[in-house]
């Protein structure tokens, strides 16, 4: 029983409730801005005015995605990688940064999230409002009928207290299981937010690994993973497979050497490669 009632005293339940209810207005806002900007930009591209419109849309979308990331992090506790300071990240010329912005996979993952936010937001809102409405109406109908107000279930008019009790079990069930159902439902939004907004570009992973190796010297995969978790946080964006693939990519580009003779688990910076 305490398992069923504990969500009522947990702050997280109310944060999740707020996130799910915000899904509809924010979904409309995100979808409208992104679709309007992209259609306008693509439509005007032949006149060249479309190019700045597209870039502006992408910049706005990135800002919206940053807001959504913070929202998912604070309300849903969605795991997100901690970003490196901008000075380490945004190196290169204006052209290189612009190219990274337009062709970066993260940009399009974020745009994808903003587009999916509307259908998912509608579902989030509908599920939440339905759960709350069923729980409250089940309890309210007997009171309302006792006060002399007639109500109905389809074509069946409920005008006696005994008849109104038919709602009560539904209300009790949703009152007991509703918060748990809502928390379970929010896992979908949480997962989507982590996979699309918590996306790490390969160069970010490589920079993070090189940074760890530069600080700790030679280390095995477990040590590097621990250090990365301390820096970036724990989540599906940082897995042994992801780290192994990053190390392989760094190895092939000559930044690290691994599995050296006599020290098979050690990954080290190649001499003079930085």
């Amino acid at each position: 029983m305490s398992w069923l009632l504990s969500p009522y005293v947990e702050q997280r339940t109310y944060r999740v409730l707020m996130y799910l209810l915000l899904g509809l207005p924010l979904g409309i806002l995100d979808f409208t801005i992104v679709v309007t900007g992209l259609s306008l930009g693509l439509g005007l591209i032949i006149t060249l005015i479309g190019i700045p419109v597209l870039i502006a849309t992408i910049l706005v979308a990135r800002s919206l995605a940053t807001f959504e990331r913070e929202l998912a992090l604070s309300l849903l506790d969605a795991p997100m990688p901690r970003r490196m300071p901008a000075r380490d990240r945004d190196g290169g010329s204006l052209w290189a940064r612009l190219r990274g912005l337009v062709f970066g996979r993260r940009t399009w993952a974020e745009v994808g999230f903003l587009l999916l936010r509307l259908p998912l937001g509608i579902l989030d809102f509908t599920v939440t409002v339905t759960i709350v409405a069923l729980a409250l109406s089940g309890l309210a109908v007997p009171i309302v009928v006792a006060a002399g107000v007639q109500t109905s279930l389809g074509s069946w008019k409920i005008d006696t207290l005994i008849e109104s009790l038919v709602y009560l079990p539904v209300g009790v069930v949703f009152l007991l299981f509703g918060p748990r159902l809502m928390l379970a439902w929010s896992a979908l939004s949480r997962r989507l937010a982590t996979s699309l907004l918590g996306y790490m570009e390969p160069y970010e992973s490589k920079l993070a690994v090189i940074d760890v190796l530069a600080r700790v010297g030679e280390a095995d995969g477990f040590r590097i993973l621990d250090e990365l978790e301390l820096r970036l946080g724990r989540g599906p964006f940082l897995t042994p497979t992801h780290l192994e693939a990053t190390l392989l990519a760094l190895e092939s580009s000559g930044y690290v050497v691994s599995r050296r003779e006599g020290a098979r688990n050690v990954y080290a910076l190649a001499q003079g490669s930085r």
């Binding site: 995969g221 477990f222 897995t239 042994p240 497979t241 192994e244 693939a245 392989l248 688990n265």
Partner: protein, 89 residues
């Protein structure tokens, strides 16, 4: 293969198993709902076969899920396996 490589391999296997389990669950839900819709059609007028629309519409999604669960592989997975093959040569 070192210990970290083994951990990484186990993680990929777990992910693969989870993907397949989700597919079987999806297929079971699909099968039950389609059977339910077919029974409704049969008990009803049984004239216009409207049940084929969800059967094929959702069927396409189930087929795409099957491809994702059994055929599609992570680029990282491909990269690691290719490197392991090269190291084995």
């Amino acid at each position: 293969m070192d210990e970290f490589g083994e951990l990484s391999l186990r993680e990929r296997e777990a992910r693969r198993i989870a993907r397949r389990q989700w597919f079987w669950l999806h297929l079971a839900v699909y099968g039950m709902i389609q059977a339910f819709l077919f029974v409704i059609w049969l008990l009803g007028s049984a004239s216009y076969p409207w049940f084929i629309f969800p059967l094929f519409g959702w069927g396409v999604v189930v087929a795409a899920h099957a491809v994702y669960a059994f055929v599609v592989r992570d680029p990282e997975e491909i990269m690691i396996e290719r490197a392991a093959r090269q190291a084995g040569k």
